[in-house]
């Protein structure tokens, strides 16, 4: 339970339903979901397309492209590339679009800020 789990919580008295309705929070939620949901759908579809090909299109996957390197290996390695790519993209997106607005909302409520290690810069330490 939230309040019980955070007994000395600066945010314990906050009306979260009110925060949830603010324009700022709705923007944050929209930005988060409009990135993570489509992205999750895309990489899952791409992964399952690959798995289906590996199971049911063995001949296509076995086509040699260069030396002994075949389509299956290239598609497999492309899964690595897209995983690394989506990771980098998400980090850059969060840094630009999510973190600043989340910090604004948090500071607005808690009235203090945290440095990158999570130490309070001002305000009372627990």
């Amino acid at each position: 339970m939230g309040n019980e789990a955070h007994p000395h919580d600066a945010a314990a008295s906050v009306d979260f339903q009110e925060v949830q309705q603010t324009e700022q929070f709705r923007t944050l939620r929209k930005r988060h979901r409009s990135f993570v949901f489509p992205m999750a759908v895309i990489f899952l579809l791409w992964y399952f397309a690959y798995v289906l090909l590996a199971a049911y299109a063995v001949e296509f996957m076995s086509t040699k492209v260069w030396g002994n390197i075949n389509v299956g290996l290239i598609l497999g390695l492309l899964q690595f590339v897209t995983t690394f790519g989506i990771t980098a993209w998400y980090v850059s997106y969060s840094n630009r679009k999510l973190d600043p607005i989340a910090a604004e909302i948090r500071i607005g409520i808690e009235g203090h800020q945290f440095d990158k290690d999570g130490n309070m810069i001002q305000g009372e330490a627990k």
Binding site: M1, G2, E4, A5, H6, D9, A10, A11, A12, F16, Q17, V19, Q20, F25, L28, R29, R33, F35, V36, M39, A40, F43, L44, Y47, V51, A54, A55, Y56, V58, M61, S62, W66, G67, N68, I69, N70, G72, L73, G76, Q79, F80, T83, F84, T87, Y90, V91, S94, D99, A102, I105, R106, I109, E110, F114, K116, D117, G118, N119, M120, K126
Partner: protein
């Protein structure tokens, strides 16, 4: 070195290196013990014991996650699978890696912001505490049990390979020693000590794999194509480079492969011991960094295993691997012996032992935290127990789980460990993932939905495994000479995961009770902004 010939690896000669192996392993244990002792000095509160005082950085935790995730299954199992089954082994590593995107995008940060110690903290945040906590704790314990079984099976085959101990009593003795060491780590070091063991082990494992990869590639003039060609030639079967060798035989095996793929990609973000690692960092941003680090390290490592697997096929040969004690799981150690003689074998084996030790420690602390925090503190004593009593219960649970792991390890047989781990993934994806996703993203989700989904997913996954060829009716089954395998697939994921999602939805729409909208608002706001999330306590 003659590339086209398959050089013989003298399995009998491995026994001569036993003392060296043990020496290197003893050194690892000694060094990590010192670190664990030093790290444990500040273990006072429950946050210290379960979550390492939330004092690790994203990069440290990311390395520890890689250490946790790159278990013996990944190293021994995947290398062996590629060496024997070629391309189909590679498919494991792709599923294991892509799965991290689910954790990165949908789970890690939101979980860090809403929970405290365990997965159940998040799942029961806005639902009724008791039923949801009990369900989440039970599924945590079930997943940890399957994963522990896999690690212990790996320990068994490694021991039989390295020490030439094929008799039951000797193997049991070594498993008891390994288990006792693990109990020590967790009892003394808590999460902080366990995390340091993971970090050291991850660095050793990735470095060892990198050196071996470079050596294999150097033999083939850094030409992947000629390595593959040599592997196909050694196997006398060009199909090792193509998908389908293991899973393409029949329509059932193809379906089994789809099921495995689903379990792998959806299981990672629902593994309790991985989820718990996100609480060891101070903020959601560091949790994100952890996952990013983990993705890079894990991806790199799986690229190494591709080279190592085909390298083992080309240089050691599938027949030698299969006939070695330890079977498929011995591909990586045998390759190490071929490349660098007893010293490299000793190093790689010690790292593999350390891997099992570290992963078992991580699983044990997760299971203990779940029992002490979810069942004891929140259900049995209804939140009235103080932190000291809770940690005391956790430590006792560690001993119980340690003993169970030792017994499980003694009786676990020589199945491919990557495969056993895949079952743990299926149980995690079925029992946990639907509830995690629903409770984070679906406003109307209710307690009944959570309970139906968790018990339904858990029961479906375990029952289907019990009635699958894994347990009976096939040559490699756990119970020989019996056949009650009415479910044809080895992996239950394709049935149990959609079922659990469906039950979560059904339970919710049929639920007459409505959950508190204020709690939903609180969870949503906290999860996205990090308001009130507990920060580092040790600075």
């Amino acid at each position: 070195m003659n590339v086209t010939m398959v050089p013989a690896v003298e399995v009998a000669a491995l026994k001569d290196t036993t003392l060296l192996n043990m020496g290197i392993f003893a050194l690892f244990v000694a060094v990590t013990m010192v670190i664990v002792f030093r790290a444990s000095r500040n273990n006072k509160t429950a946050a210290d014991y379960y979550a390492a005082g939330r004092s690790f950085t994203g990069s440290q935790n990311g390395t520890a996650i890689a250490g946790d995730y790159l278990s013996a299954a990944s190293f021994l199992g995947i290398t062996g699978a590629i060496a024997i089954n070629g391309y189909d082994g590679f498919l494991y590593s792709i599923g294991f890696l892509v799965a991290w995107l689910v954790a990165l995008l949908l789970v890690a940060e939101l979980l860090r912001n809403t929970g405290k110690f365990t997965m159940a903290d998040v799942l029961s945040f806005r639902l009724r505490q008791r039923p949801v906590r009990i369900a989440a704790a039970l599924s945590t314990l079930a997943v940890c049990f399957f994963y522990l079984l896999a690690q212990m099976a790996g320990a068994g085959s490694l021991i039989s390979l390295l020490l030439g101990i094929s008799d039951w009593g000797g193997q049991a003795l070594v498993i008891i020693v390994v288990g006792a060491l693990m109990i020590m780590y967790v009892l003394i070091g808590g999460m902080k000590g366990t995390t340091w063991v993971q970090i050291i082990k991850a660095i050793l494992l990735i470095a060892g794999a990198a050196v071996m990869t470079a050596m294999v590639l150097a033999i083939y003039g850094f030409n992947l194509s000629s390595l593959l060609g040599s592997a196909a030639e050694a196997a006398n079967n060009p199909a090792v480079l193509n998908p389908g060798l293991q899973y393409g035989k029949t329509e059932t095996s193809k379906l089994d492969f789809m099921s495995l793929g689903l379990a792998l990609v959806l299981g990672t973000a629902a593994l309790p011991h991985v989820l718990m690692r996100f609480y060891t960092v101070p903020t959601a941003k560091e949790a994100r960094k952890s996952v990013v680090w983990a993705i890079w390290l894990i991806g790199l490592f799986y690229l190494f295993t591709l080279v190592l697997g085909y390298g083992a096929a080309a240089l050691v040969g599938a027949e030698t691997i299969k006939s070695a004690p330890g079977g498929v799981n011995s591909a990586a150690p045998l390759l190490a012996f071929h490349l660098g003689g007893p010293l490299l074998l000793g190093f790689i084996s010690a790292v593999a032992f350390a891997t099992i030790l570290a992963v078992v420690a991580g699983l044990t602390i997760t299971a203990a935290a779940s029992f002490a925090h979810d069942i004891y503190a929140n259900v049995i004593s209804k939140g009235k127990a103080d932190a000291t009593a809770e940690v005391k219960v956790a430590r006792r649970t560690v001993v119980v789980i340690g003993v169970l792991a030792i017994l499980g390890g003694i009786f676990a047989n020589g199945q491919n460990v990557a495969f056993l781990v895949a079952l743990a993934f299926a149980v995690a994806a079925s029992a946990n993932l639907p509830t995690i996703v629903y409770s984070l993203f679906w406003k109307k989700f209710t307690t009944q939905g959570a309970v139906w989904s968790m018990y339904g997913g858990l029961a479906a996954a375990i029952l289907l495994i019990a009635f699958s060829p894994v347990v009976s009716g096939a040559k490699t089954s756990m119970i020989q000479g019996a056949n009650f395998a009415i479910f044809p697939l080895s992996n239950p994921g394709i049935v149990s995961i959609p079922l659990a999602f469906f039950l979560g939805w059904l339970g919710t729409v049929l639920d007459k009770r409505r959950e508190d909208p204020a709690k939903q608002a609180e969870m949503e706001v906290r999860s996205l902004t990090g308001i009130g999330a507990e920060k580092a306590v040790d600075h």
